[in-house]
Structure formats: C-alpha cells, structure tokens
Symmetry: C2
C-alpha cells in the first residue's frame, strides 16, 4: 500500500489538507506531475496523456475507451445493461443468454446510444469574470449568460457538442467540446449471471468475481470507425504493487462541502434520499412483477436504483464514520483559520459557514414540499411542464427567465423534447408511477393541502393519473414538435390532459422554486462560492476539483487492503469464481434465482479455462460512480484492466478520501481475453484486441 504523501511546500503544509499519494481526480490540464513522479516514479509525456485522453469515451452515466483500430469500444456490462435489456425480446434474452456477434454483420445497433470524446477544453474563467453587473445577483446572471454565449460560439465554430464545466465550485469555468458518436453497435455482452455474479449482494464488495465488460463498435457512415487513438491491449499483465492509471468520468463528489453540509446530509438529507429511492424502487418492482415485458421495461431502472441505494448507504456510512469526519473537521478548521487570518478573505467568506448552516435549516422547513411538488414522477408531466413554460419564459427578457430557459439552454431543451424515445412508451407504467407520485404527495402534505387538492381535483390518485395519461398525446414526438412550433396559441388551443395537469403544477412549483432559491439555494450557492473562492485563493490548483462527470485522471497501484479481519488479496482468479459458485452448494434457495449461479455455457466449458488466470483486482485509484467502464492502463499506456466498481470502503470518498482501504475494483484484461477465447469462442475478437 502506498501511503507516502508528496511533500508540498511549507506554506501549503500549514494550510492544505495533506493529499494522500493516490488521492485526486485530476483534470488532464492540471496533473500532479511531481506527485506522480514521487509516488509512482512516472513522468508521463504529453503524447502519453493525449493518447489516453483521446482513447477515452463518455457513456450516458459511465465511461469507456477505444480498444481496437476498427473502433471496438470497451465498457462495463452494467453501463449498457439497460440498453442490452431493451435489445432483448422474449425469444432472445440477451441478459440471460449473453450475446456474441458471429461477425461484424451481426453486430446489433444500439438505438439512442451516444458516445462522447473530449477533443477540446477551453478555459473561459477570465472572459466570464469580466461580465458586468451592479449587484451580486446581476453579476452572477451576467456570468451565466456570458458562459452560454461562449458555448454557443464554440459550438458554431467547431461543430462540437459543447458543455460548460464549472470547476472548483466556480473557481474555474471551462468549455469542453465533445465529438459525438451516434452509431454504436453491440459486439459482446456476457450473460448477466457472470457479469453481475453475486448480484446486488456482491455489488460494491471485494473479493469480487464479476465479468463486468461489454464490447461495442463505433460506426460512421455504415463502416467501422477507425479512431486516431485506441488503447493497446497489455501483452504482459499486472502484479501487486504495479502502478495503474484510470481515465474516466467520475460523476459527483462533495469533498469541498462544509462540515455542516455533511452533517446535514448525514442527519437529514441522505436518510430522506434513501427513503425516496426505496419508495421509487418499490413502485418499479410492483410494476415489474406484472410480467416479462414489464420487467424488461423497468429492469434497468431497478438495477440502477439498487446500485444507487447501496452506494448511498455507503456514503451515509462515511458520514457516520467518526474518524473520517474528524479529518473533514480538521481540514475545515484549517481553512476557517486561514480565511480568518486574511482580512480580504475574511470579508469575503468569514461569515459564510454560519450562513450555510442557516440555509440548511431553511431547507428542512421546505423539505416536505420539495419532496413532492415536482414533475419527476411522470415523464409526460415533465414534458408538459416544459411545454407550458417555454412560451411564458421566452416572452420575458432573458435575464428574468428561469435559468434553463436562457437562449443557450433553450435550444438543447427543444432538442431533448423532440428526440426519438430510447425506451418504448408504456402508458400503464406512466399511470403507475404518476399514481404513486400523487399518493406520495397526499401522504406527505396531507389530503387538504392546496397542492394536493388542485392536482387531484377530487379524484383518487389513480383516477387522476389515468385521466392525465390517457388524455395525453405527448408520448408522440410529432405532437410535441407541433406544440413547440405553434407556440402560445397552439398550447392554448390544446386540450391535452397532461398539459392541463402541468398548468396546475406550474404555479405551485414556481412558488416553491422562488422560496427555495431565496432561502436555500441562493445562499448556499453564494456562500459555497465565497468559500470556494477563498479556498482557491489559498490553495489554487494545487488540489483537484470535485467530480463533475467530466474526464479525469487518477493514479494508483494494485494493493491489498485490510478488511473483514484480514488482508484482502489484490487479485481474484477464476478459481475464486468457482469457489463462490460451489460454496453455495447449489442451494441458494430464497435468494435471487441467478445469484452466484453460472450459465450453462460456462458449466459446459469450465474445464477449458485456465483457472489461475487473474480475474478481478483492486488498486488505490480514486474513482467514483461515472468512472464505471474506465480503462485502467499501465505506465506503457497499455490496457491492463477495466474499472467497474469501488469497494464498500471507497463509498465514503464521496466526502473524503481514505487511502487505507479505498479501492477501485477492475476486471483484469487477461480475464477478458481468456473468456473470449475459451468460453465465447471468439478468436476473431481476441486477434483484433491484441492487434494480431
């Protein structure tokens, strides 16, 4: 285990929370090169880094990479699980039976899947900082508009998909330009039983035995795309202690939160969030129980809720860990002292910690309404609400609109609203979920609350939901386009029942947003930004920004860790898979039917496997959800593994990094070749991946 920290300058030592050697999700423009050299004896060249960055891809909610000259893309099975499920039919269950394309012609187009490659990153911090304004609010608004203007300029100039990225909680503003790939086809997906062996039980744990990979291929103009950069497959392999580098898209961390924010999350926010997720899961599960098609429709959502629930419980455990929180508290004490010692910073942020505490108290008062006054329980209702609002907002000067209706945001919103549906529409599901949302509102606010009375209009939740869904045509993109193009008159003339419901929701939700903005979000944003500016003034880019689902680099090494009373081995092997299969003795009754089971194809061919082949491994890389599918490379830049999870001990890293037991869990690259050759009998793919 590497715990040696790089010695920063003395001034930093006094103020900066000491970074563990392998702590940090760094942007490619600001890598800790001295730290890399000290901890890993490694000085990557510009070429090495560009190659890794340009081979990296972003999936919806995950990461991936180009791994062959003919555009093969490697990611996790669980990143594309919902898509694989939607490619399944009753006759062809790709989750249960897996999928291996017999040849390129048999590769399956994945509708709606878009992969993003980060090709340009522009720092617009200075430009945005010059935006004028008399009051603080005006300045903030002007900066936002300036960012959107810059984004639009870059989009037009380059044709790239451009996103505004705020780093260091507003310390820096960047434009990230992505090349987008929209023709992506499925090449290999293992059976779900091995891809998620041990199911939700083993999720976030280690020792692990997951074949959590999938291969896809990017096409352009109907032909395999030949990427400029793809990762070469390792010819050797890792051993304990070897350095590992991860390039991927960590989704979100809150390491720069104040202690009071973390305590609020611990005592109120996170427990409430868990309850909400549990309720949503129960509603989806009740729907899935209706049959095969129903489960196919919502199975992906249930998986991701299960994943989210276990993760959120792990975050909560981190917030409840006395030792970890003491670390957070110490870091905050140092920052507060440093701010207090500098008159300028003190004027800027000295009172911000107290103001944040006040805002958190206000958020508790608004919590019941926040929980239910929204359009999240129904996809159609969300669409209707946007349709209702667009003409009203467009009629206002840009600076007075709700932020998502700025000129820059509007275009993206319109595109989103008329995009072909990735999931077939199911009216029964829509009714089911909207009913549950209305019931929840009734339970949380009481039947006599004006919002509840207005939404139900005297009917039961189910009747109200049925009426709105059955009286709506918003599932049809053409109808949505017609209403968008027709503007206020078309909308006024529409008798769509969901539009009618959205008109009821609209004023309640606007009012709640106004109050929330004034009492909670405005002060939180303002004072978090003040603290962030003070921190940035003190520490600058000597540290790394919180995760933002943008491309990051993480360094680490293969390392055992202490857990379950012992040291946990750095690698598992196929022997371990067989042990965990046999160790349940064929009697997993009462458990999920596919938990710790092996597919027939595996049982038939198990004797062909070299069981000592490394299967999964753990390394000290600092990653989080969104990094799933990230390539793991060695110092040569060769692909040695495929990150798919963190261990339980990594979950508190949402709030603070603790290198003693925080581990990234990856599929070993050798295991993928082994199963492609022995189980899936795809020598063609082995040859393509190994460049032979």
């Amino acid at each position: 285990m590497r715990l040696t920290a790089v010695a920063p300058s003395l001034a930093l030592l006094l103020a900066l929370p000491a970074l563990r050697a392998d702590e940090g999700m760094w942007t490619f423009d600001n890598l800790p090169l001295a730290q890399l050299k000290a901890a890993h004896g490694f000085e990557p060249t510009r070429e090495w880094l560009d190659h890794l960055r340009l081979a990296s891809l972003r999936f919806p909610g995950g990461s991936g990479s180009f791994v062959s000259a003919d555009g093969l893309v490697l990611t996790n099975h669980h990143v594309v699980r919902g898509l694989v499920q939607r490619l399944s039919t009753r006759e062809r269950d790709l989750l249960k039976d897996g999928f291996v394309a017999a040849d390129r012609g048999a590769e399956l187009k994945v509708p709606g899947l878009e992969l993003m490659q980060l090709v340009q990153a522009v720092d617009i911090t200075a430009r945005v900082a010059q935006a004028p304004g008399r009051t603080e609010a005006e300045v903030l608004r002007a900066r936002e508009l300036e960012s959107q203007k810059a984004r639009e300029e870059l989009r037009v100039r380059t044709g790239l998909t451009v996103e505004i990225v705020s780093l260091y909680q507003g310390g820096q503003t960047w434009l990230y330009g992505y090349r987008k790939f929209t023709d992506v086809r499925l090449v290999v997906a293992p059976e779900l039983a091995v891809a998620r062996f041990g199911g939700d039980y083993d999720n976030f744990t280690y020792p692990r035995h997951h074949l959590d990979f999938a291969l896809l291929r990017v096409y352009e103009q109907g032909r395999p795309y030949r990427p400029e950069h793809h990762l070469a497959w390792t010819r050797g392999g890792l051993k304990a202690g070897d350095s590992t580098f991860v390039s991927g898209h960590p989704g979100s961390t809150s390491r720069l939160w104040t202690l009071s924010q973390m305590r609020h999350a611990r005592d109120a926010g996170t427990p409430r969030q868990i309850k909400t997720m549990e309720r949503r899961r129960a509603a989806l599960e009740a729907f899935a129980a209706r049959g095969f098609e129903a489960r196919a429709l919502v199975g992906g959502q249930i998986y991701s809720l299960d994943n989210g629930l276990k993760a959120t419980r792990g975050y909560l455990a981190g917030l409840k860990d006395a030792e970890g929180m003491a670390q957070v508290e110490a870091a905050e004490r140092r920052l507060v002292a440093a701010v207090a010692a500098d008159p300028r910073l003190k004027a800027e942020a000295g009172g911000s910690w107290e103001r944040i505490e006040g805002a958190l108290r206000e958020s508790e008062a608004l919590a019941p309404e926040t929980q239910v006054v929204h359009a999240r329980s129904s996809e159609l209702l969300a669409t209707a609400l946007n349709l209702v609002r667009i003409p009203a907002e467009v009629a206002k000067p840009e600076k007075d609109r709700l932020p998502e209706f700025s000129d820059g945001g509007l275009q993206a919103l319109r595109e989103r609203l008329i995009k072909p549906r990735p999931v077939p529409f199911d009216a029964a599901l829509e009714v089911h979920l909207l009913t549950d949302g209305l019931k929840e509102a009734q339970e949380v606010l009481g039947a006599d609350h004006p919002f509840v009375k207005a939404m139900l209009g005297g009917a039961t939740p189910e009747a109200a939901a049925r009426k709105a869904v059955e009286g709506s045509r918003l599932q049809d993109p053409d109808e949505v386009r017609r209403l968008l193009d027709g503007g206020a008159p078309a909308l006024a003339a529409s008798g769509d029942a969901m539009i009618a419901l959205a008109r009821i929701l609209d004023p309640f939700q606007r009012d709640l947003r106004t109050r929330t903005e004034a009492r909670v979000e405005g002060p939180l944003r303002d004072h978090a930004a003040r603290i962030a500016r003070a921190r940035f003034a003190l520490y600058g880019t000597s540290t790394y920004p919180d995760a933002t689902f943008t491309l990051r680099f993480s360094a680490g090494a293969v390392a055992a860790y202490p857990a379950n009373g012992t040291l946990i081995q750095p690698f598992t092997t196929f022997h371990g898979l067989m042990d965990r299969f046999e160790g349940w003795g064929g009697t997993a009754s009462g458990l999920d039917r596919d938990t710790w089971r092996l597919p027939a194809r595996w049982l038939a061919r198990r004797d062909t496997l070299t069981l000592t082949t490394p299967y999964n491994f753990v390394s000290t890389n600092d990653i989080i959800g969104g990094n799933s599918g990230s390539p793991v490379v060695d110092k040569r830049g060769e692909l040695v593994g495929l990150a798919f999870d963190g261990n339980l001990e990594s979950l508190p890293a949402r709030y603070y990094y603790d290198g003693r037991a925080n581990r990234t869990v990856s599929v070993d690259a050798r295991a993928i070749l082994e199963v492609l050759a022995k189980i899936y009998e795809a020598p063609r793919l082995v040859a393509e991946l190994t460049g032979k």
Copy 2:
C-alpha cells in the same frame, strides 16, 4: 439463517432475555430439548447423547474426539501446535513439513499430553448448601471445604480425576469425574502453511481455508486403545441449512456479567489486558529472534498470544458495539426490575449492582500493583513462591489458609510442582522474561516504590533476574521434590536465589491479595453470587451457565451470514484455497514468509485434488475458545466437521450472543478424507476413519 426463537412460557417471556434458537452452551444434563425440537426438528435419544459425550475429549486448552475403533483422536492442528513444535528438531521440522506416520510403529509419542474424558457428573449443590457457618464469609469458606471433601471422596472411590465445577456463578456445584489418557501419539499433522493458511491475518475470519486438523492415537499398555465410543465418519456430507451439533469445552464467557462489569472491561480492564499481552508478545518475539531453537521454544506461546490478542480485540469490539450493549442493558433492566419486584430477592440482591460498581472503582486504584506484583513473569519464581508458602500455609488451620492451599488443593499443587517439564528448561529465556517483568514493575510503580526497591536490591532488572535464575536449581523436579518433602527446615536451609526472591515477593503479594480480596474480589464474588442466585431463582435452568471449560452441547445449522457488504457463502472449497494462493500473485513480500503459501507437496499434487470438495464451512453453533477441536456431528451423530474457530462476529459472544452473524468455522470432514487420500497418500487412515 435460523432466528426463530422457541416460545417460552408467558412468565418467562416477561423476565427472561429471549434466547436465540441456537444460543447456548448447554450442559449435557440440561439440554433444551423443546428448543432442539422446534428449531431443528430433532429429539436426540439418551444413547445418542451418551455416545457423543463419551466420544468427546478434553485437550489442554482445547477439545477433541475419538474417531476410530482403534483410538484415533481428531483435534485441531492449532490445539497441538506447541506439542508438534516440541517434537521438531532442526533436521525434522514437523511444523514446516508436516507429519504423517508411515505406520503405527512410526506414531510419535507426545510427552506430557493428557486427554480427559468426562465419564461422571455429580450434582453436589444440595450437599454443599448445608455447610454450616455463622457469618457469610464462614459459610462461603465452609462450602468450599465441603466441595473439596466431596471431590476427594469421589476421587478415592472411583480413581477418576475429579474437578469441582461451579455453574450459574454458584447456582449449582458439580463434581466432574474424568478418565485420563496419558499415552497419546501423533499420527498426522499437516504443514503449518496449510493448517494456518493466511496465518494470523486470517485467524478468526471467514471465508477461510484452513486445514486445521491433526490426528493422534491413544494408547494403553503400549497398544492402541479401543474406545467404547467413537464417532463414525459421515458417508454423505453437509449442505446449507443442515443441522450441526458441537460437543466440546468452551473455555470462558461472561454473559452473566453486570452492565457495569462490561463497561469497566470496555473502558479499563480489556485495554489494559491488551497492553499487557502486547508487552509479553514483544518480549517473547525479541527472544525468538535469537534463532531456531529460541523460536522453537517460544513459538507456541507467541501463536497463542497472537490468537489471544486478536480475540481480545474482538471482545473489545463487542463491548463497544452499541446495539449489542443495548441488548445487555435491556436484559439487565428486566432482571433489576424482577428483583426489585420480589421483596426476598430485593433484600438479597437489590443493592448488589451498586456494590459491584464500587468494587470496580476500587480495582482501578489497585490496578498498577495488580499489574506487576506477581510471579507470572518467571516460571521458577512461581515455583519458588509456592515452595515458600506451602509450609507456612500448612501450619495454619485449613480455614485460614489461602484457598489454593486447602487440603484438597494441596495434593494437586504438589503433583503439578514435581511433574516432568513438558518444555525443556531454558535459563536464557527465564532471565529474559524475568528481566522484562522487573522492568515493567519499575516502569509501572516507579523506581522508588518499596516493592521495586526490594525486588531489585539495588541491581538492574537484568542483573537481578540473572542472579536469581543462575542461583537457582528449581528447574530440576528432584530438587523441588526434595524441598517439598523436607518442609520448612529444608526450605530454611536452602540457599536457592529464586527462593530468596520469592521470600521478598511473598509479603507484598499477600498484602496486595488481602487488599484486593477485601475491596474488590470479595465484594465482586459476593454480589455477583447474590445476583446469580436471584437470577437462578427467577430463571432456573431454563437458561444455560457461562462457559467453564467443561463439556457443553451446542446446536446450530450451516448458514450464510451478512458481512463485508454481502452474504458470505456457507462453504469454501479447495478452489478457494487455490484462489487465495494465486490471488497474492506470488508476491507476498513484506508479509510472513509462509502466509498464503502452499507447501511443495501441495503444489506437486494439486492436480490430483477434486477442487470442488467442501473445505471449511460456517454454522450457527454457539462456541468459544476451548471448543477448538470439537467434533461437529449431524443428526445421525456422524462426524461431519471439525470446529476450529469462530468468525470475527462471534467474538462479542464472550458477552452476548447475536445469531445474525455469529458463526462457528469448521473443517469439512470430506476435506480431511480428500487430503489424506490425495495429498498425504494415507489410504490406511482413510480406511480406518471410514471403517472400511
């Protein structure tokens, strides 16, 4: 997992802490038959129980059982590890290389090993209760003498080795008569590397891969002993959910302690104990570092300290577990309320909880002296102290003596003092440990403390220790016998330097004992007994007594449990052993050289093993240290496993049982036959064990 509790009567429900189905280390005379029937659908016959009891054996510090008609005895490797080490020479390292007797003639006599078989148990509670006395102290003393008289009577009448056993903290007094076997020979001991695969890291953990078994054979008159009862080896095997029954000797539990005793242990006693053990371990390790012979001499002590340390840390974790302690607190609250509600019990024990708290406070004041004023750091000093005290004590009326010098105790003490040494005497070790003990006294009490000044006599600890050891002949049993037989005159004439040191220690230690007895132990014993009597009056034998290293019966079932974020599999297999071996990738640098390594014999023959064979398993049986080596039998009474450990989650069971994750870890009987056949090539033993 079985968590269904048997419904007790309503009256009990109100007062009795609800027993988990598999909670309890029951005496064979008082088995929870209704509970067995309800939880396991099992009604053992008298014959079934007698057979299991009489096949069971007690080892020094462990358990075992007869497993063949020709007297083969099965126990854990770790129970006889110290003995195996002492049978080793530089040329024949039985720990490293293992041992398999080529034939009966090659079986190795184990010097000093005595096995005990419980053949008679007599309840003398009523007899002892009649012992007369005017004061409470007189009554206690009279009871003690009466017990010892009864023991001596039974010993003379039966020729058995008789022990007084106090159950339910004095609620019952029994005489247990043992048949003793003194000619025991080693037949099979696997290599240490597989017997304790994973070393201290894996100790008390699961999933586990320990081949922790050894076979010995009892001889009588030079011929294999043919026991009336031996356990038949299973012909089938266990599966998850199957019932398992353990017969063995749990050493010690403290489940009937008061909450204040547990809190005192948590905050003061146990942390202090851990420090003392760590100091002792460091002293032994420093000695072992001198070379092969030194390590051979103390290796067993180090092993057992490591084991004890990990266990004690687990006990401490239990004491620190809020949920577990809440359970203890609730049980105590019920008992206190029940006592308060009964005028007679209230008069007896109503004030006892407060008195126990007072005694614990007193014990803290005496703690520094208690830590160092004793003869435990030197074996010779302990012998000398007994020699000095015997004539002085014998001269007093029996009732005024220190308890261990009563007529009954004296005989056992004399025998112990002149028994041939099981370990060769090593003057350097003796000096080393006595030096450390004297240093500790200096550190704890200060150089100016009268005790320290007297013991050192102006010399350094090392010089004082060297003088005492080198000037002593007490390592020679003949010299000890001479001094015992010669009585006070012989002792007075002796110029033995260790006797001289013991004469200095004696008054300090007597004074400390007097104060401790008056302020701590007397009140603790008195009030613990009052509470115990009240509890016994309320609950009787509907519950089970704390462990006393006497034979107990425990029922359970093979069951997974939640840990490390998932469900832990009920069985491991040889695949798991290979996985954990390969998973360290051959690079266990920095760890013990034999940790997670396999011996050459195993690597050469690994391909012969059927890797799917169950290896270790977990069950819900309620056991604790001392149960090591206990047979695990199924409903047919056939040997299905060999208990060798509890998981980490079982350690808090020293204080309270929590069936959710408390598991006994056993070697599967099938694994033993598999390795005897394939690795150790001993078909003769396989045939003997399977009765073929």
